[in-house]
């Protein structure tokens, strides 16, 4: 079950024409899919579109009512391949994933799909994981669109526009027989706003109908000679059709401005940020009325030369605002202008940063630079400092204005005060996470036998690379943990360890990592972290999830799977059992048995477990039933203040507080009330022989009569002895 439930929200998907929906971008996209008469949907979870998969999962009933087929695809490649259904049949299909990570995985199928061309609209909704909050390599989906000739939509980030673009995307796809990608940036996916709904539409043709009367067209298969034909078709038929459609439907937008001789061109997704920046500079109002003319590319690929030339024709300079690198659009525009021999000067990444997310202040600074460089008079009286400085030096318009760094005195004092006091706070393992003990064990083993090369994967377990564990060398992709360690498959004194999550394992790991290790007779150690879910992406169910689900087949054992591909050394260990884990690791590192040593570290994701159990516990306590809650406790008097326990754990609940001993200044360890009693603190205290200050406390809620009776006797004896201690302490005092 996913971390976040949308059961309540999905009811909004039933709303009809004219009703206003207030929701997150993701829910809006789902609604738009239903309004477009989509016949099938698939995808693979991953921020920022994880919630789209969750919404679809929770909307199963509604989808069924509309005869929409939905699959949680095994990987992005699976999802992309699913779109094959739109090649022969007029079926509208949509899939979604995190990009560019997912697009990389999908690109094999995606390229084939693009070559074949589609009959029914095929839409890929990519969550562009770029900039703040991103967890992957910083690349652009744009390159995929260009290389495969897929059209790329990047709409202005407001819900009416985004939802509209979903429907339009299908139309464009069908008009040009080409798959279309809809790119949503991180904040747009989680943008909360409102739009007016339309009625849901049943698909014109359902998947069932298509299946019942198969048709085929050999020329759609990617095989000679058709593959050559496809390329020709792409350029000679599909591209012109797309351009025609985009122009007719006016998907790109022109906004007028009174400063007519300069202008801005931008990707649609950046529009709101640009307007806000101009607004701060006094060049736009809150409704988007802007003094500079703007050309918004809601379609960022293909480029509509004619529109670009029309926009640039009467301008002496334009600024291309394009996020990410390389600057494909800017290069294209430069080429278009050159071809047409237009003298318009094109600015872009010479003014804007070449790489990195374009947040508000980045754009604001760039805007100032641009205007002061090409038309300083525009800023006069508004932002005096910049304009004045420029007018004093004046005239060489070709030099880009560089604003001097000025900091107001108060701010700089404060910032100096803060220097060195603001430690970084990267994301990390949650309270009681079952993955943490694995790395406590690895760290202890490493302390004993020396440094280990560790090949990591994608997933929460990748947090091992951060303090306090500092474990792990590389991550090459989902399910590629062991593959990333495969070059080290040579005899050596110390084996290397690779880590892989259950999500990655089913996604790609079984074949690319495990089978490969078996086939190539690797002797190294592979650790598979089995926490019942694809936890990093929001706790979606996978093949090996323990729950029984209505419409998915689960409970498939990882152990059986690896044995099935020929692994002979497999051990399953409870992650919280650090001692056994250490022992098993030692064994795996030294076992003479040939072939990969697979350790399956099993325990449920604590976030999901808590979400399930907390309400049950609350009810039980309320109804007066006996219940034992475990949590940990550190004796402040006994604590060393050395924090070795923290260096083996990093649990947010295991923190520090002021030392109660006035002679000592080191903060002491302390467990806060969020502790879920996972037991790692105790395991570490034992296995690493830490100080004796850790205690677990068993708190008995609603004790029974028997509990109270035994408790009473114990209290009598202990109380008697404690009284003696107290009396001694009274005698021995200053």
């Amino acid at each position: 079950m996913a971390e976040r439930s949308f059961k309540k929200e999905v009811e909004a998907l039933r709303r009809g024409a004219g009703e206003e929906l207030r929701c997150e971008g993701i829910l809006g996209v789902t609604k738009a899919l239903l309004q477009s008469g989509v016949a099938y949907v698939g995808g693979y979870q991953g921020a920022p579109i994880s919630h789209l998969m969750d919404v679809l999962g929770d909307a199963q009933d509604i989808l069924e009512e509309l005869d929409v087929h939905f699959e949680s695809s095994g990987s992005e490649a699976t999802a992309a391949a699913m779109l094959a259904a739109s090649v022969n049949y007029p079926l509208r299909g949509a899939v979604t994933w995190k990009s560019t990570a997912g697009t990389n995985v999908a690109s094999d199928a995606l390229a084939n799909l693009a070559s074949s061309g589609v009959t029914g609209g095929a839409l890929v909704i990519v969550g562009e994981d770029y900039g703040e909050g991103s967890s992957i390599m910083q690349e652009r989906s744009h390159a995929f669109a260009m290389k495969s000739q897929i059209w790329l939509l990047d709409p202005r980030p407001n819900l009416p526009m985004i939802t509209d673009m979903v429907e339009t995307g299908f139309d464009l796809s069908e008009a040009s027989n080409t798959p279309v990608m809809l790119e949503l940036r991180i904040r747009a996916c989680h943008l909360h706003g409102s739009f007016v709904a339309k009625d849901n539409r049943r698909p014109k043709m359902t998947v069932r109908q298509a299946k019942a009367s198969p048709t085929r067209d050999t020329s759609r298969v990617v095989l000679p000679p058709f593959n050559f034909l496809h390329e020709k078709e792409k350029i000679e038929a599909r591209l012109p059709a797309a351009i025609q459609f985009i122009k007719e439907r006016q998907l790109n937008e022109f906004f007028d401005g009174d400063v007519g001789d300069i202008g801005l061109i931008m990707q649609g997704g950046l529009y709101n940020t640009v307007i806000r920046a101009l607004n701060v500079l006094g060049l736009a109002d809150s409704f988007g009325n802007c003094r500079l003319p703007i050309y918004v590319m809601n379609v960022t690929y293909p480029y509509i030369d004619e529109e670009i030339l029309r926009f640039c024709a009467d301008k002496k300079a334009v600024l291309m605002i394009e996020e990410g690198q390389p600057e494909y659009i800017e290069q294209a525009i430069s080429h278009i202008l050159r071809r047409a021999e237009l003298p318009t000067k094109l600015y872009g990444k010479d003014i804007l940063p070449i790489y990195g997310e374009y947040q508000g202040d980045v754009i604001k600074t760039a805007m100032e630079k641009f205007i002061v460089t090409v038309a300083p008079s525009v800023l006069e009286g508004l932002s005096q400092s910049a304009a004045q400085k420029k007018t004093s030096g004046e005239t060489q318009v070709l030099n880009i204005y560089e604003p001097a760094v000025e900091t107001k005195s108060v701010e700089s004092i404060a910032v100096t005060l803060l220097e060195g006091e603001i430690p970084p706070r990267p994301a990390g393992f949650c309270v009681g996470c079952p993955e943490r003990p694995i790395f406590s064990a690895v760290k202890q083993v490493q302390q004993a036998i020396g440094d280990i090369h560790m090949s990591c994967d994608i997933g929460c377990h990748l947090f091992s690379i951060l303090p306090p564990f500092d474990l792990g060398n590389t991550t090459m992709g989902y399910g590629l943990g062991a593959a990333g360690g495969s070059a080290f498959n040579v005899p050596s004194e110390r084996r290397n360890i690779s880590v892989m999550g259950d999500g990655g394992f089913w996604h790609n790991g079984l074949t690319s990592s495990i089978s490969n290790a078996v086939f190539n007779q690797s002797d190294d150690v592979v650790m598979i972290v089995d926490n019942n879910y694809s936890a990093a992406t929001g706790g979606q169910d996978i093949m090996s999830s323990r729950v029984e689900l209505d419409n998915r087949s689960t409970q498939h054992s990882i152990e059986k799977a690896v044995k099935g591909v020929g692994v002979t050394w497999v051990r399953q260990v409870d992650t919280y059992d650090v001692a056994t884990m250490k022992k098993t690791l030692h064994e795996a590192m030294t076992s003479p048995q040939p072939g990969p040593k697979v350790i399956i570290a099993q325990n449920e994701c604590m976030l999901n477990k808590q979400r399930r159990e907390k309400p049950l516990v609350r009810d039980k306590i309320k109804s007066g039933k006996r219940l034992v809650r475990e949590r940990f406790f550190v004796d402040a008097d006994t604590c060393t203040g050395d924090h070795a326990c923290i260096r083996l754990s990093g649990c947010p609940s295991l923190t520090v507080k002021e030392n109660p001993n006035p002679l000592k200044s080191d903060p002491v360890a302390w467990v806060d009330n969020e502790c879920v009693g996972c037991g790692l603190c105790g395991e570490n205290a034992h296995t690493a022989v830490l100080c004796p200050s850790f205690a677990r406390t068993d708190i008995i809620f609603n004790p029974t009569r028997r509990d109270r009776f035994i408790g009473g006797i114990r209290q009598a004896v202990i109380g008697f002895l404690q009284n003696r201690i107290d009396r001694r302490l009274e005698k021995y005092a200053l």
Binding site: S50, G133, R187, G257, S286, G428, G641, H643, T687, L734
Partner: protein, 528 residues
Amino acid sequence: MFESREQPVKIAISAMGGQGGGVLASWIRDLAEAQGYLAQSTSVPGVAQRTGATVYYLEIFPGAETERVGRKPVLGMTPIIGDVDILIAAELVEAGRAVQKGLVTPDKTTLITTTHRAYTVAEKQHLGDGLSDSTKILDGIRQVAKRCVAFDMEKLANEHDSVISSALFGALAGAEVLPFGKADYEQAIRAGGVAVETNLAAFNAAYHLAGQGGLEPAVPEKSDRLSVPEAARTRTGKMLLDRVLTEFPPSCQGMICEGMAQLIDYQDFRYAELYLERLRSLVAQEASEDHELTREVARYLALWMAFPDTIRVADQKTRSSRFQKIRAEVRAMDEQLVYPVEYMHPRIEEFCDLLPRRLGAFVLRSKRLRRFLSVFFTKGRKIKTATISGYCLLYLIASLRFMRRASYRYAVENSAIEVWLERIHSQAGKNPSLALGLAETACLIKGYGATRDRGRQRYEAIMAALAESRTRPTREDVRRLWEAALVGEEGREFALALAEFSSDASLKDSLEDSSEDSLEGKGADPRV
């Protein structure tokens, strides 16, 4: 060409993932929408929700203006430096981070922040005190904000059995920066429908505090002057107290009294007397008026003399005050039963520590005996201190106090203490700065088992380096060394610092060639 002069209100929430920043954002959104405003919020979930730092951003815009213009406004997605009206921070360092990013400016931003800390791994994992200075952060952010409402909202939320978002929401209402009434806010909480009672309680408390200005007094500086008890509680205690008052300068008295009290608690009056004797010979030697050396030695001597052995641990774990502390900390209700389960892992070393001096040394030296006995000490033990058998076991161990002075461990620690004092004495007159450095290096001697061994090794390494140095090391030189010793477990930083010190020393040496002040103390291992 502009149609409107109206600006949205821009609100950023700087928080940690999983802290409820999303709930707060949705309350503000609901509140604004209920009052006829247009609201847009954005966030960055993904991995940030796993405890990392994150920023939520909202813009709200008056609906009346939207109607007048007949169109929807274009609302921003990310905060812009210098253009945030309200910054809400759910943790103090996160407030600092926002200020560092420039999201708080004196002409514009009302800063609403809690003052509590959730320590980062970077701070917590230090081998000593690696925490950021909250006072500095609070100072900094106050200077830069147009207005600052700051108090411990986490504590307040806890007191009302609620979560920090309610307190922040209350503080926002109390600061009266948004054009909404208190009742409107409360309605948003009610509409949320979760834990309404407790959320409202925390909301109200925070509302009132913020209304009164909501500025917490800055945390007082920690001082090294402890106060002298007004009167002794026992007769022998009075004698000792009188001695402190007559024989020591006022600047040291508080520290010495505290040290004495801890040693009486640890062993007995005689032990405290030994402590006084040791300090008396030092104070006579110290020329400085402030007597900082005596004070620092008083601190570390008390800590060292109260070395934590198994007897001490058992003693601390059997006291009634500890049982009360546990109950309070785990927030046990009166009717609930609480059973602590102690995680102990005595090693053969700890066992030998308790043996009489010669016997302990013998066992530790004999490989065969060691191996034989080790079998009993391979596993950690869980001891239930609130059951009769578990408690009695610890009670018995604690009562071995009477034979502590004869134990192997006592002998080891005692001779190390004497070597240390000797070194300090030898420098107190010649190089008082170095003497202070030597005194402070004792901060490395702490804890149990591996921690203590590592600290001890580094301590000895520093002593050895100082002994070899032919220059005149200062307190600062020594501080650099012991600070480096506290940085990483592997000791890379420490090795670097040592190397730097030695090369520095030899460089200075060749320049000045002044060898007269070199340190005499030997780096001998007193454990032998």
